[in-house]
Symmetry: C2
DNA sequence: CCCCAGATTTGACAAATGTCAATAAATTAC
DNA sequence: GTAATTTATTGACATTTGTCAAATCTGGGG
């Protein structure tokens, strides 16, 4: 894939919801910069204000918290062809509770908060696309809350298996465990028993 | 409060974000119907498609799920001066996993899905107000996910106490417990110990 | 104002999950 | 390819939380 293609997936993502001219698309994409990350690279640290929102071309970003004892909890995962960041920090421009890490070597696009908000004011249809995306992500978070307040460890794991098996194959089980809010030992036992 | 005033809070809510003319406000409000509910009244049952989104003038609505054994889990609470519904069902117009119940005698406004979407297309500024509200609620849900995957029962209760003491005073502890995803007995013991 | 259904508390016990430590397996970096 | 490092598994045990049952409390409706 040459440099001219790095915006192809972003254009497709936008085109799924609205139809815009090629010049408009080019203008939209010009706000995004391109970057390749190494495995394990940290893109944001806690207490920093998230400057960017990311579109993942390939690879995976992980938004996670760390407690005083160094224990990590994965709040969110961002895979190919989706947008994400440390959402509260980016949106409110306040210090982040979370880190962002590239769990795989990834190829990503990123946009500043200022440019992001600028597009909302100036780019026709972008506020709608973003709003619909927000609805989708909010619904996903509601489903996750439901599973967290109603299910035990095995049920949560089985649900993830059925809804997102790719995630389980792809990520180390340590991350699966702290995404589900259980210990790695418990997860390991679930896998062998069931 | 007479009938002419039932839209006062909704107008204030809208006015917090954008400035609109009185006629526009009146048009906006005309899409909302007014209703008083009894304590315990069910507004939506699981498997129904949520027809309405609600603005609560006073009182409190509760969005909850019920498992096969009849155990309830509170997904969401909607207090005065805020908007809410069984969000996934209302937004996607698909059968709801959740019930909506009025936990107190309440006074509410409600709007159909069709009118809600109509306003997004026709009412200047409404998509923005709604989008910003979505961001706020999505952030709240992220915070809740964080507390669910990182905290034990006592920590979750203490957090709720510090962030939302009114909620604890106002609602029966059975509901507090299933909002936190713990049993009422565990909650009762936390309260006496700490 | 009283009664009663529902809510809360408490006790005894069971089950689920976490913690710590040791070992085994896998993956990365060189 | 191999050593070094991380990751995953397993065992033993502690802790938390859930479950069921009974007793007590409470507040809303008549």
């Amino acid at each position: 894939m040459n440099d001219a293609d790095v915006y192809g997936q972003l254009k497709q993502y936008l085109g799924k919801h609205i139809t815009v001219s090629d010049e408009q698309l080019a203008l939209f994409c010009s706000k995004f910069k391109h970057k390749k990350t190494k495995r394990g690279e940290i893109l944001l640290r806690a207490d920093e204000i998230a400057p960017y929102s990311y579109f993942v071309n390939n690879g995976c970003l992980r938004v996670y918290m760390m407690d005083a004892e160094g224990r990590e909890s994965t709040r969110f995962l961002i895979f190919e062809n989706s947008v994400g960041t440390a959402f509260p920090s980016f949106t409110l421009q306040e210090p982040s509770m979370a880190y962002i890490q590239s769990v795989e070597p990834s190829e990503i696009l990123y946009i500043t908060h200022k440019d992001f908000n600028g597009l909302l004011d100036t780019f026709p249809g972008w506020e709608r696309v973003y709003r619909i995306d927000l609805e989708r992500e909010y619904i996903a978070s509601i489903r996750r809350i439901e599973s967290l307040i109603t299910m035990d460890a095995k049920q949560k794991y089985n649900l993830l298996m059925s809804k997102n098996p790719a995630l389980i194959q792809r990520l180390p089980s340590r991350i699966i465990a702290d995404y589900l809010g259980i210990s790695q030992e418990t997860l390991s036992r679930l896998k062998s028993k069931k």
